[in-house]
């Protein structure tokens, strides 16, 4: 494999290489990245059509997300996302109409079944779910099972105390956790050089006694390999690791953001040019894993799937007002029951 030394300046359209992966895998990665790209495009459109109040695009981060999630086993592992992991969820097999409903503001966290899909609720506290991954992983070892927890977080979250506490805990307990940092270089308006002292999230791993690697986050093959190694290591009982996938948020932070206020769009254009979906497509062709006809068929199916999810989310019923009260407690209280009656009598009418 070509040595990877990702930098903050994009390597243009320099080719990536997928020879180390099986054709089945690379075709699946392409399918999911393509579907995620189309769904992302549909989601941005839904926001502009007034269906979504807001949306956070994953464009440009499809390789980092799909290739990492695909290195896990959805039957025994568990993913702890933040709020920008749509492509990971899709690749992991999460029921996407439910997942995307959080962007329609139908339910905070999404309507997918967290326990069954083994993919956490969308969490808006950056860094907050990372200690959960450690607890889950410690629990896995206590039971003698071999599942691995993967926690996603961003360059902004890497500044949060919870991330540091979680890494230290994982190191002390030898917990099977993969700390996966998607460094998309912008924490809303703040760039890496004003966010990350020392310039590297992965370098911090050494301080917590675990390996840390920096990979080109737009190179699906490199991301998959790094994640698969970290997962295998954790599964063997050798403890946690950090992966920093260097990528770029080519879209605004959210559909309500105006990046013109804080960054030079020419930089964005250079990163748009190093598009992970295009890079993988070309690598598949170069490696002989797929031909144009196959890819055209995949593209068509991806577009259809994205439309199916879009229509599902757009047409999903709004939650019943009584859902306000349903899951506050497992065993509700008299007071909450009284308040629910008040809601029935004075709000529902």
């Amino acid at each position: 494999m070509r040595p990877v030394s990702p930098t903050h300046e994009p390597a243009g359209r320099e080719a990536i290489d997928v020879d180390h992966l099986s054709p089945d895998l690379t075709r699946a990665l392409y399918r999911d990245m393509r579907t995620a790209r189309d769904l992302d495009t549909e989601a941005i459109a839904l926001q502009r059509q007034g269906v979504f109040p807001a949306y956070v695009s994953v464009r440009g981060q499809e390789a980092a997300q799909v290739a990492s999630a695909s290195a896990l086993d959805p039957a025994r592992d568990f993913v702890f996302p933040t709020y920008r992991e749509m492509a990971s969820a899709l690749a992991y097999g999460v029921e996407m109409v439910g997942y995307m409903s959080t962007h329609r503001a139908l339910w905070h966290g999404g309507l997918h079944d967290v326990a069954a899909s083994r993919f956490g609720a969308v969490n808006a506290v950056v860094g907050g779910p990372v200690p959960h991954a450690v607890g889950w992983a410690v629990g896995e070892r206590l039971r003698g099972d071999d599942g691995v927890a993967l926690a996603y977080f961003g360059d902004g979250a890497s500044s949060e105390g919870d991330i540091h506490e979680a890494m230290n805990f994982a190191g002390v307990f030898g917990a099977p956790v993969v700390f996966f940092c998607q460094n998309n270089q912008w924490a809303l308006s703040v760039p890496n050089d004003r966010q990350i002292a020392g310039g590297s999230v992965s370098a911090r791993a050494g301080g917590y006694g675990m390996p840390g690697v920096l990979v080109d986050g737009n190179d699906a093959g490199a991301v998959h390999q790094a994640t698969a190694e970290a997962v295998a290591r954790a599964r063997r009982g050798e403890g946690p690791s950090v992966i920093e996938a260097l990528t770029y948020r080519v879209e605004p932070h959210s559909t309500s953001d105006d990046p013109g206020r804080y960054r030079d769009e020419s930089e964005t254009e250079r990163w748009r040019d190093r598009d992970p979906v295009t890079l993988l497509r070309e690598a598949l062709l170069a490696a002989g894993h797929a031909d144009e006809a196959h890819l055209a068929e995949v593209d068509a199916r991806a577009a259809k799937e994205a439309e199916r999810i879009r229509d599902g989310v757009a047409n999903a019923p709004e939650p019943d007002g009584s859902d306000l009260f349903t899951h506050v407690f497992r065993e509700t209280t008299e007071e909450l029951t009284r308040q629910r009656r008040t809601w029935q009598e004075e709000v529902e009418l």
Binding site: F78, F80, W107, H108, G109, L111, D113, V114, A115, A116, G120, A121, N123, V125, G128, P129, V130, P131, H132, A133, V134, G135, W136, A137, V138, G139, E140, L142, R143, A149, G161, D162, E165, A166, N168, F169, V172, D323, T326, H327, V328, F329, R330, E331, T333, E334, E335, L336
Partner: protein, 339 residues
């Protein structure tokens, strides 16, 4: 001694033993670890040391370092870890060493523990019991004498309980840990040591039930944690003056026993709520409102509040002046009697 008389008719099959609250909580944890293999006890210094108040003494030895273990010193990660363990099917009983150090974990407690079941629409229950040595009265350093009950009670999704004596400490902890909802279990440090003859009982009242510690007819003193003892002292002194005070131990600070409060105050027609926390937006305001809403026509006087002052919790020598004194409670009683 009224507590003992009250208990005499129950649990006749369990022997009366003399225990401190420390020991009663230790016993409850031991029984919980025995009955449920999914119970995990963890926190700072709870393992090898047995806890800074020796509440977890001997548990690691008995149950092993997989069930009872020390964590690094990071309160937020302790509570975050509890969330992850719960998501993986365990029943975590974390300890945060002192009340004031729950603040660094507030994000995990409020944003995660309290909401995860709601956020996931019941897919990931949070049967977490946070043990929190709480309240003042032991002349400890700053951040070791705080009363956070109003903050927790104000957080949707949490239940909050504060025992006042060893017997209740035992059964309320069993009840908290067995509950599938997250519970903040506030241990009154000042009451850790006093030994009392108690019968260890299975919980018999539903969550959210208060307890009449001392029946009386002229006014109801309402308290929780260490202030229950203070109110019993006041009631005994008042009896010398011919004033017969009822003492109600609220026990559950969420859910609050509105019916129990109403039953007592409707009889006595006067109420004084006593707590250690500062006055403004303290839980006493909630109690006073519930009493007023439910007993307005029966009340002979407005509900009185005797609380800490709206100042940071003070150092040792000022502690007795900050905490509700016997005289302050007596004066409040006098105000209700003369209203």
């Amino acid at each position: 001694m009224t507590e003992l008389i009250e208990r005499a008719d129950t649990a006749a099959d369990t022997p009366v033993v003399e225990l401190s609250m420390q020991q009663a909580i230790n016993r409850a944890l031991s029984d919980l670890l025995t009955e449920d293999p999914e119970v995990l006890v963890f926190g700072e210094d709870v393992g090898t040391l047995g806890g800074v108040f020796r509440v977890t003494e001997g548990l690691q030895k008995e149950f092993g370092d997989k069930r009872v273990f020390d964590t690094p010193l990071a309160e937020s990660a302790i509570m975050g870890m509890a969330v992850g363990l719960a998501m993986n099917g365990w029943r975590p009983v974390p300890e945060l060493q002192f009340d004031g150090f729950a603040y660094p974990a507030i994000d995990q407690i409020v944003n995660q523990v309290a909401r995860m079941n709601y956020r996931t629409r019941g897919a990931t229950p949070m049967p977490i019991t946070l043990r929190l040595p709480s309240f003042g009265g032991i002349q400890a350093p700053e951040h070791h004498g705080e009363s956070l009950e109003a903050l927790f009670a104000h957080t949707p999704g949490l239940k909050v309980v504060a025992p006042s004596d060893p017997a209740d400490a035992y059964s309320l902890l069993l009840q908290s840990v067995r509950s599938d909802d997250p519970v903040v279990y506030m241990e009154p440090k000042a009451r850790y040591w006093e030994r009392r003859p108690v019968q260890l009982r299975e919980p018999s009242d539903p969550i959210g039930t208060s307890r009449i510690v001392r029946p009386g007819r002229h006014a109801t003193l309402i308290a929780w944690g260490a202030m229950v003892h203070r109110c019993v002292q006041v009631a005994e002194l008042a009896a010398e003056d011919g004033v017969d005070l009822e003492v109600l131990d609220l026990r559950w600070l969420k859910p609050i026993d509105a019916a129990g409060l109403a039953a007592s105050v409707s009889r006595t027609r006067r109420a004084v709520v006593v707590h250690e926390a500062p006055l403004t937006a303290g839980l006493g305001a909630e109690v006073a409102t519930l009493v007023t809403e439910n007993c307005f026509r029966d009340l002979a006087a407005p509900v009185q509040r005797v609380t800490g002052f709206d100042v940071p919790y003070p150092a040792g020598p000022l502690e007795p002046q900050y905490l509700p004194t016997i005289d302050r409670v007596l004066l409040a009683v006098q105000r209700t009697l003369e209203y």
